[in-house]
Subunit: 327 residues, 2 copies
Amino acid sequence: MTDGPSGYLAVDSGGSGLRVAVGVPGGPPSAHGESKEPVRTGARGIDPGHLLEQLLPLARALSVQAGLPRLDTAVVGAAGFATLGDGLRAELPDALARELGVRTVALAADAVTAYVGALGLGPGAVVAAGTGLIALGTDLVRWRRADGWGHLLGDCGSGAWIGRAGLEAALRARDGRDGGSASLLAHAEEAFGPMPGLPGRLYPRSDRAAALASFAPRVASCAAADPVAAGILRTAARHIAESAAAVCPAEGEPRIALTGGLFRMGDPLLTPLEEELTARLPYARRVPAEGDPLHGSVRIAAALAAGSLGLPGDDERMLQVVGVARN
Amino acid sequence: MTDGPSGYLAVDSGGSGLRVAVGVPGGPPSAHGESKEPVRTGARGIDPGHLLEQLLPLARALSVQAGLPRLDTAVVGAAGFATLGDGLRAELPDALARELGVRTVALAADAVTAYVGALGLGPGAVVAAGTGLIALGTDLVRWRRADGWGHLLGDCGSGAWIGRAGLEAALRARDGRDGGSASLLAHAEEAFGPMPGLPGRLYPRSDRAAALASFAPRVASCAAADPVAAGILRTAARHIAESAAAVCPAEGEPRIALTGGLFRMGDPLLTPLEEELTARLPYARRVPAEGDPLHGSVRIAAALAAGSLGLPGDDERMLQVVGVARN
């Protein structure tokens, strides 16, 4: 075996690609890398071969760059892991042991790495939101999750939800139905062209949720002057707080954090959201997210190396730690 | 040219196939036929070749069966005609003239044939609803339409809308979020299996709207005992009435009719809907739909043969009448 300090490999696999860091447990990453190609999802779920194809060269290059020839611990947080992670569970631990000499592998849903990135290893609740939305909470005994069901079944309050509601209000204005907004109609025509062509352009797309979410910032931009847009954001804030309340520990003084691109929308969403959170969870303490999901993977790696994970790890859809024999 | 009385050909092309009737104008159809294969939609919209392939043999057989060798007038009502009808407009009139000797062709959106089937040639408003929902009204000067934007952008109050809202309430119960319904959750698990598998099964389907709508009858079945389900139907009723109000003539004593499979849901929907319609359109008279869209095509054929259509025909997305030279 190679001499030198023992390192970790931390991974965040999401809709915009793969982000990777290596470092010494307990310290910040010594080197970062990324691949812009999102890992494919096939009939078996997230494709472990496609993930490894991108991850292994990156991991090897970063371990050289960081002067960390041994990567004892690997933590992989992946979008879709809960429902589409069977292939990763089956193949990733052995492949990382064989190819990189890893001894301990943790596989996690991206909601878990988002949680740990935002709040660390303590109890609390995190809402992670962008195009979609999921809330995750723990009292350190078990995980609770809410929503994350996708743009047709839920993701209530997400970017796709806000954008969809904004487009409905635009079309209500066009039809002369109640609940319409002329300013959202003007924005919708600017963004998507004449409305009669919108269904024909939207429905065949495979990225319908992202297309809907692309309209959300325009809803926010109208909110100051347009009561319909403001009402959409108020309702979104209520739905987000409902998800937070469903997962937040009922005892103690839990912390709550918000993470993800949705919250860059700023005051038009955050002002009503703070009000809704205060009303529903007066005993919880709002804190800023400390870091992102990659930071969550780094923190989990440090905790594993120190033998002190302290998070519920018995739910294989959320977080699974596997010790592997080194070849 | 063949001797004998001059007949009409009436067609209703929809999601479940092609229904065809022939008869003598002013009388009921002498013969009916149908093809269960829905007309394909391709890059050019509704495929005229695929429609003709099914329609011509049926029309020839029915004209023989009815003893009507001359079919002077053809009326084709087609789902999707407003936005996907370019191919039909370009090819159908000449093809029907060439193949069947037709002299006058009317092409119509299925909402128009639904309107005329339900209310005849007078002013009023019709809501046509099943998986989707559209409202159409006229003062005989112009058509007004509302909604019909599809399950992501609108179709508010439709079967897909009610089913989607019911599934959201089921998942809210599962998550412990506000607005959940345990009885809808039990129904959802019975209909779709364990909820964690639902997104993976629903999102890849090409018939997502129909899949959502398949849950609507279960929402209705829960409404008597479950306030969440009853609330969904009350909101659906409000949305349906909003669409009716947006298209109903503001003057006179217009008639309003409801047509389509959604209204077979019965009292759980119809009771709140009658209340909402009465509140919004107190001056309008609720009447039962007199007939279905095929009946609307038959009525338009009779009116064209009598030279007295009397409906706005200048909007080529709604209704277009073409005189064609007989070969």
